[in-house]
Subunit: 253 residues, 2 copies
Amino acid sequence: MNEKTTLYHCTADAFHCDFNHEFRIGDLGNAMLNAADMHSTERRFGMTYLNTLNKTWVLSRLAIEMEEIPQEHAHFVIETWVENAMKYFTKRNWDILSEDSSKVYGHGKSIWAMIDLSTREPQDIFAVNEGTITEYVYPEKSCPIADVSRVKTPAMTEYTEFVVKYSDVDVNGHCNSMKYIDHVLDTFSLEHYKQQQLHRLEIAYVAESYCGDTIRIYHLQDETGEHFFRLAKQAGEEETELCRLRITFKNKQ
Amino acid sequence: MNEKTTLYHCTADAFHCDFNHEFRIGDLGNAMLNAADMHSTERRFGMTYLNTLNKTWVLSRLAIEMEEIPQEHAHFVIETWVENAMKYFTKRNWDILSEDSSKVYGHGKSIWAMIDLSTREPQDIFAVNEGTITEYVYPEKSCPIADVSRVKTPAMTEYTEFVVKYSDVDVNGHCNSMKYIDHVLDTFSLEHYKQQQLHRLEIAYVAESYCGDTIRIYHLQDETGEHFFRLAKQAGEEETELCRLRITFKNKQ
């Protein structure tokens, strides 16, 4: 760790674990977002500061790849840093490690945009704090997983639905990025999770949804076993795409 | 703090907060359960140890009363201790305080039973570790909120429904105690939470539910403004009561 990275300490407390006594992926994703917020807040480009400028960060794409899931009561750390900053996008990565760094649980990669809170238009990242974000860019640190793609999905017709509720909505006032993942992972049975562990998850965000929206989760598993999802909100006959996911599982050991 | 209490440190990280930038009650309840698990694990009567004896703790009743909700980025602590231990029940309390103890956010009271994992029958608490739990009983420490009642509810006919999913299920293999609260709080609109803050919540647990169960949330607000809920699972024409809640809100300042 150096001044360019932040270490966020986690414990796989009992009630953050699933029935397998493994840390829940939704909680892991949330912890990664919290680590990102802590990292950016400490360097004065966090959401709370951006809100005073009528701006915020939005997550554009995210990949999480897990070798192993932290078990109940495990202490672990999430290290996060900014790999690159461009005018309209930053790349942020994460390492998920045991507390003594001897074990790698997994990694994450992501792309973020900065938007104006009123117009929702992309903002020039370097215009904030005279571009001091560049002082924290750390391209030398490697993150050994494949880049996060745009997530192309095949045509899909089968779907389940959910309605966005109070607990789905985060500080940004819309459905939380990780909650889409929670709702997608909830489409699998307990039987599935007894046998399979999440290996890689990719999500590309397209539009936002709000409390009360009805969301369709389209799903298709292709012949290689890979799972594709497309989430869309309904307004009469119209459908607005919200995000696309690609998920692979591996057999539990 | 002395050897009879455990301090569990929390931060109201951005993504544990609701759209009001306040720590989510569901996450607070979960943190209280995690503090309880840490306290009991440190003293060798935690769930993980009990599981080796084919036993576990089940939450029978819980009350949470909040003066104020921790705001985004606040550091706070949850102190927990056992007020009393009887043959079949223990009473556990919580204080929710600012990190320097100068501010009281709220308190919690609860009643727990120990059950056999196979028969689900109540077990003699003093039979575990030769009753050493009594060394940690701390009746001298006061908890200044009303005791948790059996929660009597009026007759109710209006209901909404939800289905128990993977993310609702905890390490005990059934729907998590706090998830019932989450689903109940999700029946209120964002508009409600703009104006009202949770003041007191009481819940009495009756039976367990499992992944795939369809749960009815019966609701009635009486003439004093108090909210009553009864959750029941459906199996054909039959209905099994799961838990009963009584919730009061107060106007936000």
